[in-house]
């Protein structure tokens, strides 16, 4: 049994996964005025010690391997942390209700290919919804509402065949909604005056021509 633990440790070293480093990086790159990450203490590193950190759920308590990171409404400020890429086994990421700025990283799905649920809603994110998001093929839930995202909704999102919950409401998006996403309700898209297409109003010919470019 100890051999299994040793092998798993070796495997994580080889694969580059390092969830401790991931959390260290997340903590240091974000501003945390409410001290929501105060329990994230890295000085005493026993087996599975990060599993008790606020907002962290591990795959099991015998390993520092995170399945869910829920930092919703923590009052955090800064950009989506690059160190998340070391949390390779992450499936559920909730950073909603913070004051995150900057854009959604195009490489998010290279960092976290196994994401099942992504909630970045109610932040201050700008820029476009990256094409690369379509590479997170296991996504069931994508919630990006309540930000300042601009540009169009990338067609690549129709690759997300497990998608059952989707919202980009209340942003600054424009253009035609990809037809593959037309099955979602109006509430998934409202609050974007420039968006058109099913389930919203039909796009005008002018809009369609613009998109063809």
């Amino acid at each position: 049994m100890n051999l299994i633990i040793l092998l798993t440790l070796l495997l994580t070293l080889v694969s580059g996964e390092d969830d401790v480093q991931c959390l260290r990086g997340v903590k240091s790159s974000l501003n945390d005025p409410r001290q929501s990450l105060a329990t994230w203490n890295f000085s005493n590193s026993s087996i599975g010690f990060i599993c008790n950190f606020n907002g962290v759920t591990c795959w099991n308590d015998q390993q520092n391997r995170i399945i869910t990171l829920n930092l919703g409404d923590f009052g955090l400020e800064g950009g989506v942390p690059k160190d998340l890429k070391q949390c390779e086994s992450l499936q559920n990421l909730d950073l909603s209700g913070n004051k995150l700025t900057g854009s959604i990283p195009n490489d998010l799905c290279v960092w976290l290919p196994y994401l099942v649920s992504l909630d970045l809603s109610d932040n201050e994110l700008t820029g476009v919804i990256p094409d690369g998001l379509g590479n997170c093929t296991f996504l069931n839930t994508v919630v990006l509402s309540g930000n300042k995202l601009s540009g169009g909704i990338p067609n690549s999102l129709t690759n997300l065949r497990r998608l059952t919950r989707f919202s980009v409401a209340n942003n600054e998006l424009n253009g035609s909604i990809p037809s593959g996403l037309g099955g979602f309700g109006k509430e998934s898209f409202e609050g974007n005056s420039g968006l058109c297409g099913k389930p919203l109003r039909k796009c005008s010919t002018r809009t369609r021509r613009l998109i063809a470019l």
């Binding site: 099991n60 015998q62 196994y114 099942v116 093929t137 497990r162 998608l163 059952t164």
Partner: protein, 225 residues
């Protein structure tokens, strides 16, 4: 002579109370018996089961056993206890069991299908042992299960489709076994990725899901790129 009737009635009363007392502790004893059956099938070099005394009224004072307010077993915590031996079907009698934590031991043999009777179970942690045989399809009856961790064993056979009906599953880990066949992607399994099934050489893990997304999103229309 006059005292006889009163002595008999006192004796009868005492006997009556004793019988009642016995009946009131039958349930507690049944659970103690079930756990004691487990103790008999396990080898325990660290003596972690030393306090498991079957002559007590119920097992609630035994170490590594937790009871609820009705003196019925709700948790068994035997993780990393250096135990050898096998699990027993009697575990299925612990009807109020919520947490079965027997991870990180040297336990061999099969997962008893009777564990499917533990309908209050929230956590089934048998990971890091040497369990063999199949994952019983009866585990699909565990409709409150949140954590199913059977990783790092020697389990064979296919993954029962019944597990996809457990909508409460938050963590599923079947990695590092000898499972084979196709990985289901429907029901609750849409929330699980290759991580949950890694290192099962004969298991066919879809890199991309096979079924189109369920309602409300329709199947993607042909795209004009």
């Amino acid at each position: 002579m006059d005292r006889m009737p009163s002595q008999i009635s006192t004796f009868s009363l005492l006997l009556f109370i004793l019988v009642l007392y016995n009946f009131s502790t039958v349930d507690g004893n049944a659970e103690g018996d079930a756990l004691f059956a487990l103790k008999t099938r396990l080898t325990d070099p660290n003596n972690v089961l030393q306090s498991w005394d079957p002559t007590l009224i119920n097992p609630c004072m035994w170490l590594h056993v937790t009871c609820n307010f009705q003196n019925s077993v709700s948790r068994v915590d035997l993780g990393n206890a250096n135990l050898n031996g096998q699990l027993v079907p009697e575990l299925g009698q612990l009807v109020n069991l919520q947490y079965l934590e027997i991870f990180g031991n040297n336990i061999s043999g099969i997962i008893p299908e009777e564990l499917g009777n533990l309908t209050s179970l929230v956590s089934l942690d048998l990971y890091e042992n040497q369990l063999q045989g199949h994952i019983p399809k009866t585990l699909g009856k565990l409709q409150k299960l949140r954590y199913l961790r059977l990783n790092n064993n020697a389990l064979r056979g296919t993954i029962p489709y019944s597990l996809t009906t457990i909508t409460t599953l938050q963590v599923l880990d079947l990695s590092n076994n000898h499972l084979r066949g196709y990985v289901p992607v429907n029901g609750s399994f849409s929330h699980f990725t290759p991580i949950s099934f890694a290192n099962n050489p004969k298991l066919i893990v879809p890199a991309l899901p096979q079924a189109p997304a369920p309602a409300p999103a329709p199947a993607p229309a042909p795209l004009v790129s």
